[in-house]
């Protein structure tokens, strides 16, 4: 982090140096005065209008290096808070390098370190710490959800909520201090009320932030649809069915475990990874056990969990292994076979938790499909499902209920998956790991506090506890954060951002 101590002018190509492009943008920041750079511009820099594009040649003594557009952002009105020049140059890598060299060798600039422009913006209060993290998210997003939240933090919405929390905390702290230093002036009852009111307000704000950290966020960032079930249950058929119309253009998935068959599917603008745990299943018991462990692992981070059960070939021990998992849907296949109901009644489903239950026939066709189906939802017809998502505990044999919907399975499943995704992302989850951790820490402390404070008759202890809460808050709002936070944030940046 050596660059923290150095305020010298910096330069970098902000658009990356990986290939030749039509245009590259070079950013210069922290120079004392624009006119000191006159030697390198054919344009008369005395005539520069701030925040306006000007056409100029870039000069190295008498040699014209390039014909460029440049914009000058004066100190206080720029991204970094310092004097900034942005040059739009021709994006040939040799050309870009030559212009960078011109400034580093002759004009006292040095190459910017990763994240240095943004660090200067933070230093000069052009961005808050949270906003810097938002920017990081925006620039490094690998999902549309991250993209939109990055923008949200950057534009200050989430940051405004943090500030509201911080302000509410300040009133809470003030209430405690008033009860100690001014209770004679204000009156004991009133100070008590002030404290209770401000704590309730604070608790409400932190609870609502906390609700935005709930759920498995990684499952939203790279959502996986996971199929589990025994051999011949119909997993592969369902896999192929879902894949058939929705195969993503992107076919290569980084980090896929070889044991699984997986493909990217594209449903209503969102990329899901469809995983068939078939690949781990073998008839040998030992291997099946290893397979189940792996299935458990992938289930733990899955976004949508589908269990398929063939009532004609079901092993009760197998089902029992999933007692800790909440499935999104349980599909019971082969419902068109004779003796379906009697076989179904034979199975103990009491271990299984699922939000939906579907019975589907198993009709093999060319593409391998299981349909049509009947679907049962705990909250009314599946298509009208609008959350909240509550687990449904099935105990005992499944009673056939009034079929709520008939039809092909594929559009139904897709709509359930999308609904769930919309509900979870509508809650506007906080994606930044540091924020999630601190919000949860504050929430935990406050709920402990909510339980305890009625019993704390010692105002000094109360105040000491409130102070401790405040340390975490300052960390969230980024007023003063431990140095390692800065380290980790800035190590994620690339040159020139």
């Amino acid at each position: 982090m050596a660059f923290y101590t150095d305020d010298s002018p910096i330069i970098a190509c902000s658009t990356g140096m990986s290939s030749n492009t039509a245009i590259s943008v070079i950013r210069l920041s922290g120079f004392d005065n624009l006119f000191s750079l006159q030697n390198y511009f054919s344009f008369n820099l005395n005539k520069v209008t701030k925040r306006t594009s000007h056409l100029s040649n870039i000069l190295n003594i008498d040699q014209v290096l390039d014909n460029i557009l440049f914009v000058f952002f004066p100190e206080g009105e720029s991204y970094t808070g310092e004097n900034v020049l942005e040059l739009s140059v021709h994006g040939n890598l040799l050309n870009v390098q030559r212009i960078l060299d011109l400034f580093t060798k002759n004009a006292g600039f040095r190459s910017a370190h990763p994240g240095e422009f943004t660090y200067r913006a933070l230093k000069n209060k052009k961005l808050s710490l949270s906003q810097v993290e938002g920017l990081d998210m925006l620039l490094n997003a690998n999902s549309t959800l991250m993209l939109s939240q990055g923008l949200d933090i950057l534009q200050g919405d989430l940051h405004a909520q943090y500030l509201a929390l911080y302000n509410s905390y300040l009133s809470l702290k003030a209430a405690v201090e008033i009860s100690i230093d001014f209770s004679e002036d204000v009156g004991t009852e009133e100070t008590q009320k002030l404290f209770t009111d401000s704590f309730n307000n604070f608790y409400q704000l932190i609870s609502s932030l906390k609700s935005r950290t709930e759920g498995n966020i990684s499952s939203l960032l790279s959502p996986e649809i996971v199929l589990v079930g025994q051999t011949n249950a119909g997993k592969s058929s369902l896999f192929n069915l879902l894949l058939k119309h929705n195969r993503s253009i992107v076919s290569d998935i980084a980090g896929t475990t070889r044991d699984y068959v997986s493909e990217l599917v594209h449903i209503e603008g969102i990329n899901f990874k469809l995983v068939d745990t078939a690949g781990v299943r073998e008839s040998k018991d030992v291997i099946e056990n290893i397979g189940i462990e792996r299935a458990m692992d992938i289930l733990s981070r899955a976004f949508y969990k589908i269990l398929i059960v063939n009532p004609f070939e079901t092993n009760a021990d197998y089902l029992a292994k999933f007692s800790q998992i909440e499935f999104d849907i349980l599909i019971i296949s082969h419902s068109d076979k004779p003796d379906f109901q009697s076989n179904l009644n034979r199975i103990d489903f009491s271990f299984i938790k699922t939000h939906f239950l579907a019975k589907s026939s198993f009709l093999t066709n060319k593409s391998g499909s299981i349909e049509p189906l009947e679907i049962f939802g705990p909250m009314g017809p599946a298509l009208l499902f609008n959350g909240p998502i509550e687990p449904l505990n099935i105990s005992g044999p499944i009673e056939p209920v009034e079929p709520m919907s008939h039809g092909p399975i594929e559009p139904l499943l897709k709509s359930l998956i999308i609904k769930k995704f919309q509900i979870l992302s509508a809650n506007n989850p906080i994606l930044q790991e540091r924020h999630r951790a601190i919000v949860n820490k504050i929430y935990l402390k406050s709920s402990r506090f909510a339980n305890d404070f009625k019993d704390i008759d010692d105002a000094a202890i109360l105040s000491s506890e409130v102070n401790i809460l405040g340390h975490d808050l300052a960390e969230l709002v980024g007023i003063l954060s431990p140095d390692d936070v800065l380290n980790s944030i800035f190590s994620n940046f690339c040159i020139g951002k």
């Binding site: 933070l122 230093k123 230093d181 102070n467 003063l480 431990p482």
Partner: protein, 617 residues
């Protein structure tokens, strides 16, 4: 008259008296020059000593060997423990004093010092000389001294306001002194003068006390002075009373906004937000009409009553009208009208933590002239200025109090590390270490500072013996075990100590929630036949109770503020162009040495902190 002193104090209020008293303990030649009309150590406003946070200061002064606690105990006519139900750490003593007796006892103490000369004259100017200072007095004499302590309170260019009436003076019926810059032109004053105010005094005979809530003196409140018996009283005790303002009171004030000097622009000085006048309350809290008014006697033989809470500078006839709307004051006659006073304040960021003006060695400041309010704050600075002027004269190391173990330390660091923009008062909230900086452990906290003075009096031997007793009792509670046997189990049940399931130490018992550690330890000492000073038992019991919380608070704040102790180089920081002009100015004025001090400067931007923090990594 001897015209040459080792230490000369200008001003005889609480700061000046305390400075003179402690300096005289060092056997130096001390002079105290005070205006002819003004009594020494007088209480011109609220006739009370102590209060939340301030009670701790009085005890700190007492442990250093000061006079305030001694005088307050003797002149005390109503003793109370504030925040009694809020936990030991924030409990504070407050004593209503008979203002005549207070001054009388203080003057007796000072006059009794044979090496202290009291000069009743005004000061015209202070000149620097090769050997120190020459002070020209109103009597035409020149007094020289190598160390000068200025404790002029509100007297420097003081202006009094009552409605449209303006008079020049330091307080009612007292001549003011010249402005600070006329005294010594090199001294930097704050650009904004400060303002404070006082309520009208009411004739005791015209008050109907029967409709007010009485507040009696509390027998169980401890005296300030550590060498006195804790609960002895030398003066007859009386009650204070509580009444309240109402909508009629406030509507009269609100209807006369244009006649209020603070709101019509006549007064430009900045008043304290924490001690608002009734006008402030009326216009700042427009939805609130009911405010407490404490009816406090000014003395056993005085006819005047101090109505605490209705400080005002409104015209006299309006004061009379609104006072009579208050329950119990319907027939009240005003004997002295309320007024506000504006005065010069020295820029305390020019002072060192020894209260010495950095650019003028040998010149010290203390008290209200430093922008504080309150007798205790003034006395606290006075004793530190007196001690350091004396130590400096004797060529010894200065005494610097740490903010972590004393409220005086908190106050002085706050003063010298900042430019004040309003009068400064101590609150417990100003201390980061409130669980430790308590009244009960004052001797433990202050003994090392008292030792630094190198004096050997009864007080020093007493403090040593208390420290020894504390050490013994601390070992005892650590080593005394309650084994989980039937006899002890039974004992726990009869005493309501809760269950005894496994062996615990006496210390662990003291930490149990919902137990009063002090009464438990008293009982257990008695049971063991161990005789300890009751104040020692109290200190040790409370310390045991808080120990865990204090450790936790320290760990938590260390975690976050581990940077605050890092040294910074302010002169390098202000060279950076990444810091705003305004911040640079502030840093230049304050010259912070650590990151923590930088953080505490008002108006330092987060960006500056982030920048400096970045540089510390």
């Amino acid at each position: 008259m001897n015209n040459s002193f080792d230490i000369l104090i200008i001003g005889g209020g609480h700061a000046g008296s305390e400075a003179a008293w402690i300096s005289s303990q060092f056997n130096l030649r001390v002079g105290l020059i005070s205006g002819p009309g003004a009594s020494l150590a007088s209480t011109p406003c609220n006739p009370a000593i102590g209060g939340v946070g301030k009670g701790q200061v009085v005890r700190e002064i007492d442990a250093l060997g000061g006079m305030m606690g001694v005088v307050a105990d003797k002149a005390g006519i109503q003793f109370r423990t504030l925040n009694e139900s809020k936990g030991f750490a924030v409990q504070s003593t407050r004593v209503q004093v008979d203002k005549e007796l207070y001054t009388q006892y203080a003057e007796e103490l000072l006059i009794g010092c044979t090496n202290l000369t009291i000069i009743r004259e005004m000061v015209i100017s202070v000149k620097r000389t090769a050997l120190g200072f020459d002070i020209l007095s109103s009597g035409g004499t020149t007094i020289s001294s190598s160390r000068v302590i200025i404790t002029t309170g509100t007297f420097l260019a003081g202006n009094l306001h009552t409605g449209e009436e303006q008079t020049l003076g330091g307080r009612v019926d007292c001549e003011r002194s010249v402005g600070l810059n006329d005294l010594l032109s090199e001294i930097k004053t704050l650009p904004n003068r400060f303002k404070t105010g006082t309520p009208p005094r009411i004739d005791k005979k015209t008050i109907n006390f029967s409709v007010m809530d009485p507040q009696d003196s509390d027998d169980s409140t401890r005296n300030f002075h550590s060498l006195s018996h804790s609960f002895s009283r030398t003066t007859r005790q009386v009650s204070c009373y509580l009444t309240r303002t109402n909508s009629e009171t406030l509507s009269i004030i609100r209807a006369n906004k244009e006649r209020s000097p603070i709101f019509n622009g006549q007064i430009k000085g900045v008043g304290p937000r924490y001690c608002p006048s009734i006008e402030d309350k009326a216009f700042r809290y427009t939805e609130k009409d009911v405010h407490h008014v404490f009816i406090e006697p000014e003395g056993l033989n005085l006819e005047t009553i101090y109505p605490n809470g209705v400080s005002t500078s409104l015209p006299k006839e309006i004061q009379q009208t609104f006072i009579r709307t208050i329950r119990g004051l319907e027939k009240a006659e005003i004997l002295v009208h309320g007024y506000a006073v504006e005065y010069d304040v020295v820029d305390t960021s020019e002072l060192s933590r020894q209260m010495e003006y950095e650019n003028i060695p040998g010149l010290y400041f203390a008290g209200q002239v430093c922008g504080t309010s309150g007798y205790e704050e003034a006395a606290g600075q006075g004793i530190i200025a007196g001690i350091n002027a004396s130590l400096s004269f004797l060529g010894r190391e200065p005494l610097i109090l740490d903010r972590n173990d004393s409220y005086i330390g908190v106050m002085i660091e706050d003063l010298v590390s900042n430019k004040r923009d309003e009068p400064y008062r101590l609150f417990t909230a100003r201390s980061e270490n409130r669980l430790y900086v308590r009244e009960d452990n004052t001797i433990l906290r202050m003994n090392k500072y008292r030792k630094h003075l190198g004096l050997t009096t009864k007080l020093d031997f007493f403090q040593e013996s208390i420290l020894e007793e504390v050490e013994i009792l601390e070992k005892l509670i650590d080593s005394t075990m309650f084994y989980a046997v039937e006899e002890n189990k039974q004992h726990f049940i009869t005493q309501n100590y809760g269950n005894l399931e496994s062996n615990i130490s006496l210390k662990e018992l003291l930490r149990r929630p919902n137990l009063n550690p002090v009464t438990v330890l008293e009982k257990e000492c008695l049971r063991m036949g161990a005789i300890f000073n009751l104040d020692v038992i109290r200190t040790v019991a409370i310390a045991a109770k808080y120990e865990g919380y204090i450790d936790r608070a320290i760990i938590e704040s260390e975690k976050i503020n581990r940077m605050s102790k890092k040294k910074i180089n302010w002169s390098e920081i202000i060279e950076s162009k990444n810091i705003s002009f305004e911040c640079k100015l502030r840093i230049k004025q304050i010259r912070p040495e650590t990151f923590g001090q930088l953080q505490r400067i008002d108006g330092i931007r987060p960006a500056t902190l982030a920048y400096v923090a970045g540089n510390l990594i």
